[in-house]
C-alpha cells in the first residue's frame, strides 16, 4: 500500500517537474513547481520526517514561491515566444548517454542497504526535531556557520551586481 502510494506521488512529482520546464507561461511553471514541492513534502512524511515536511511547505512552497511569483509579476513576463530549439542534437545525444549510464548503474547497483547511526528506531525514540537540532548545532555546527557566511556573501554579491551605481 505504501509502495503504491509512493509511486503515485513520485509520478505526480516527475510530471509536475516536467511541466515546470516545458510550460510556456511562467505562472504555470511556478504553480507546477509548487506542486513538486508538495510532493517532496509527502516523501518526507513517508520517511518519518514530519519536521522537514513542515519546513518544506512553509519555506519553499510558501515563502520562496511567493517571491518567485512576485518577480514574475514585477517583470511582467508574458508567454514565452516560440523559439526554435537549438542544440537539440546535443541534447538528444547527452540525454541518451545519461539514460544509458543510468540503466547500467541501476542494473549493477547495489543500494539496498541502510548504514549510519540514525535508524528508524532512533528517530522514533529521540524525536525527529531533536535529532535535526542536534545534527545542526552539534555535529554540523561548522557547516551551519559557514552557510551563514555563504548567505552573507551571496547577498553582498547580489547587491554589488544589481545596484545602479557603484
Amino acid at each position: 500500500m505504501e509502495v503504491l502510494f509512493f509511486y503515485l506521488v513520485a509520478l505526480v512529482a516527475v510530471l509536475s517537474g516536467l511541466i515546470v520546464v516545458t510550460a510556456k507561461s511562467p505562472v504555470n511553471s511556478a504553480l507546477a513547481l509548487v506542486n513538486t514541492f508538495f510532493c517532496l513534502a509527502v516523501f518526507y512524511v513517508m520517511l518519518h520526517a514530519p519536521f522537514m515536511a513542515a519546513i518544506q511547505i512553509m519555506v519553499y512552497a510558501g515563502a520562496i514561491m511567493v517571491l518567485i511569483l512576485f518577480v514574475i509579476m514585477l517583470l511582467n513576463m508574458g508567454v514565452e515566444p516560440h523559439k526554435k530549439p537549438t542544440h537539440i542534437a546535443w541534447g538528444a545525444i547527452g540525454g541518451t548517454l545519461v539514460l544509458l549510464v543510468s540503466i547500467l548503474f541501476i542494473q549493477r547497483g547495489d543500494t539496498a542497504r541502510a548504514v549510519g547511526n540514525i535508524s528508524k528506531d532512533v528517530v522514533l525514540r529521540e524525536g525527529h526535531t531533536a535529532l535535526i537540532g542536534k545534527a545542526m548545532f552539534v555535529d554540523f555546527l561548522l557547516p551551519f556557520e559557514i552557510a551563514s557566511i555563504l548567505l552573507l556573501v551571496a547577498i553582498v554579491g547580489a547587491v554589488i551586481l544589481a545596484k545602479k551605481e557603484v
Partner: protein
C-alpha cells in the same frame, strides 16, 4: 536542552578555524566600514584587507606543527591545511596589492571587492582544512559565489558580465556533480566524514567495487576537476579568465585551483585510498589530455590573458601528474608546485595589469611589441615569469616540475613523465612568442604613460623573489611540503 548546548560547546575548538575566523572578521568589518567610506575611495579598504591578510598570515604560521582538530571532525588545521592556507594568503595578498590602482583606473572602485577577496580566501581555507565533505562543499560554495561576483564585477563591461554569468552557470552545474557524488558516497558509507568513509571502505572491502562507490568517487572528482580546469571540464576557463578583471583572473588561477587540489588530494588519499588504482588510471588519462589540449590550444591564442588561461589548464595537467603518482614526492610536489605557480602566474598577471593600460585594450601579442625595451623592468619581470612557466632552471617552475616528474618516475610512471617533458617543450613555443614580441619586434606605437603604481610593483617584486627563491633553494620549502603530508 542544556545538555545539547554543552554537547555543542564541547565540539567547538576555535583554534582549529582561527585563520578563517580572522579573515571573516576582517571581511565583515570591511563591509561595515564601507558604508561610511566616501564613494570611490577604496584605498583604506585595500590597506585594511592587507592588514587582515598579514594578521592571518601570522596566525596561520603559528599553527604550523601544532595541528588542531575540532567541530566533531569537520575541520583539521594540520600542516597540510596550513601549507595551503599560506598559498591562499600569498595569492590574496599579491592580488590585493595590485587591485587598488587597477580598480580606480578601470572606473570600478568597489569597496566590497576586498571583503569578497577575504571571504574567497576563507572559503579556500575551509576547503583545505575541511575533513568532512559538507565542510569542503560549503567552503567551495563560499569561494565560488565570491568568485562569480568578482568575475562579473565590471558591470558595464560585456565581457566581464559574460565571464561572471558563464562561471556562475557552469559552476552551479558542476556543483550538481559534486553534490551527487557526495550523496552517493554518503549512501555507501553512511557518513560524510572523509576519514570515516576511508575506514568504512577499508573495513568493507567488497564495497569498493560497488558501482555506487565508484560513481560517487567519479562524480565528486568531476566537481573538483571543474574548479581545477581539467579537460574536458575546462571549457569555461578561457572565456572567464579573459573576461574577468585581471587581478581577479590572477587570483582565480592560483587560489581556487590550489584549494580544489587540496580538497581533491585529501578526499582521494584519505577517503578513497582504497580506490587508488581506479582514480589514478583516470587521472593519468585526464592529465595527459589536459596537458596536450591546454598547450596545443594556447599556441593559437593572440590575446595574452587567454593564452595564460590555456597555459593554466596545462599547468593543472602537470600538477595532476603528482596526484597520479600519489607517493610522498608526488603529493608534496603538488604542494610545492601550487606555491610556485601562485608566484609565477600572479606575477605574470601583475605585469599584464600594468601593461594593459586603461580598458585593457593592450593585451594582444602585437601590443607587446618592443615592450621589453620600452619598459625594461616589466620586460625583465615578465621574462622571469615566462621562464618559470616554461620550467627553465633555476626558477620555481623548474623545481616544481622536477619534483612532480620525479614523483611520477619514483612511482614507475616513466611514460607520464616523458609526456610531461614533451609538453613542456611544446609550451615553450607560445611563451617564447611573447618574448619574441617583447624583445625582437619594433614597438608599434608609443606606449605613453603607464602608471607604475607602487602596489603592483611591490607585488611583482615579491613574485620575482618567490620565483627565484623557490628555484634556487627549494630544499627548505620542499621539506615543509613533505612535513605537510598526512
Amino acid at each position: 536542552m542544556e545538555n545539547l548546548v554543552q554537547m555543542a560547546l564541547q565540539n567547538v575548538n576555535m583554534a582549529a578555524i582561527m585563520p578563517s575566523l580572522v579573515l571573516c572578521c576582517f571581511g565583515m568589518f570591511l563591509l561595515m566600514i564601507n558604508v561610511f567610506m566616501p564613494r570611490g575611495k577604496t584605498t583604506a579598504a585595500s590597506l585594511i584587507s592587507l592588514l587582515g591578510l598579514a594578521v592571518t598570515f601570522v596566525v596561520t604560521l603559528r599553527a604550523w606543527n601544532h595541528p588542531e582538530l575540532g567541530f566533531a571532525g569537520h575541520v583539521a588545521l594540520d600542516n597540510f591545511a596550513t601549507f595551503f592556507n599560506v598559498i591562499f594568503l600569498i595569492a590574496a595578498f599579491l592580488t590585493v596589492l595590485m587591485s587598488d590602482d587597477y580598480l580606480h583606473r578601470e572606473g570600478y572602485p568597489v569597496g566590497e571587492f576586498y571583503p569578497l577577496v577575504l571571504f574567497t580566501t576563507a572559503g579556500a581555507m575551509w576547503m583545505a582544512s575541511g575533513t568532512d565533505l559538507m565542510t569542503v562543499f560549503l567552503g567551495l560554495e563560499v569561494l565560488s559565489i565570491s568568485l562569480y561576483v568578482l568575475a562579473g564585477l565590471f558591470r558595464g563591461q560585456l565581457r566581464s558580465n559574460e565571464a561572471g554569468l558563464k562561471y556562475f552557470l557552469l559552476g552551479a552545474f558542476s556543483t550538481g556533480f559534486l553534490l551527487y557524488g557526495t550523496a552517493l558516497l554518503y549512501g555507501v558509507a553512511g557518513t560524510t566524514n572523509i576519514a570515516d568513509i576511508g575506514f568504512y571502505l577499508s573495513a568493507h572491502g567488497k564495497m569498493l567495487q560497488n558501482p555506487m562507490t565508484i560513481a560517487g568517487m567519479l562524480l565528486l572528482a568531476v566537481g573538483f576537476l571543474f574548479k581545477i580546469a581539467v579537460v574536458p571540464f575546462h571549457m569555461w576557463t578561457p572565456d572567464v579568465y579573459q573576461g574577468a578583471p585581471t587581478p581577479v583572473t590572477a587570483f582565480m588561477s592560483a587560489g581556487p585551483k590550489a584549494a580544489a587540489f587540496a580538497a581533491l588530494v585529501r578526499i582521494l588519499i584519505l577517503g578513497l585510498g582504497g580506490l587508488q588504482a581506479d582514480w589514478s588510471s583516470l587521472l593519468w588519462m585526464l592529465a595527459v589530455l589536459t596537458m596536450f589540449i591546454g598547450n596545443v590550444t594556447a599556441i593559437y591564442q593572440t590575446d595574452i590573458k587567454r593564452m595564460l588561461a590555456y597555459s593554466s589548464i596545462a599547468h593543472a595537467g602537470y600538477a595532476l601528474v603528482g596526484l597520479v603518482a600519489a607517493n610522498a614526492v608526488g603529493i608534496s610536489g603538488i604542494l610545492f608546485y601550487m606555491l610556485a605557480y601562485t608566484f609565477m602566474n600572479i606575477g605574470a598577471f601583475a605585469v599584464l595589469v600594468l601593461a594593459g593600460k586603461q580598458g585593457e585594450d593592450n593585451l594582444t601579442l602585437e601590443g607587446f611589441s618592443g615592450f621589453g625595451y620600452k619598459r625594461p623592468f616589466l620586460g625583465v619581470a615578465m621574462s622571469i615569469f615566462l621562464f618559470a612557466l616554461m620550467g627553465i632552471p633555476p626558477t620555481a617552475g623548474f623545481a616544481g616540475k622536477f619534483y612532480i616528474f620525479a614523483g611520477a618516475i619514483n612511482a614507475g610512471y616513466i611514460w607520464l613523465a616523458i609526456l610531461g617533458v614533451l609538453n613542456s617543450a611544446i609550451s615553450l613555443y607560445y611563451y617564447l612568442r611573447v618574448m619574441v614580441y617583447m624583445y625582437f619586434r619594433e614597438p608599434q606605437e608609443d606606449y605613453g604613460w603607464v602608471r607604475m603604481n607602487p602596489g603592483t610593483v611591490v607585488s611583482i617584486v615579491l613574485a620575482i623573489v618567490g620565483v627565484l627563491y623557490l628555484g634556487v633553494v627549494p630544499g627548505k620549502i620542499m621539506e615543509m611540503a613533505k612535513m605537510a603530508l598526512f
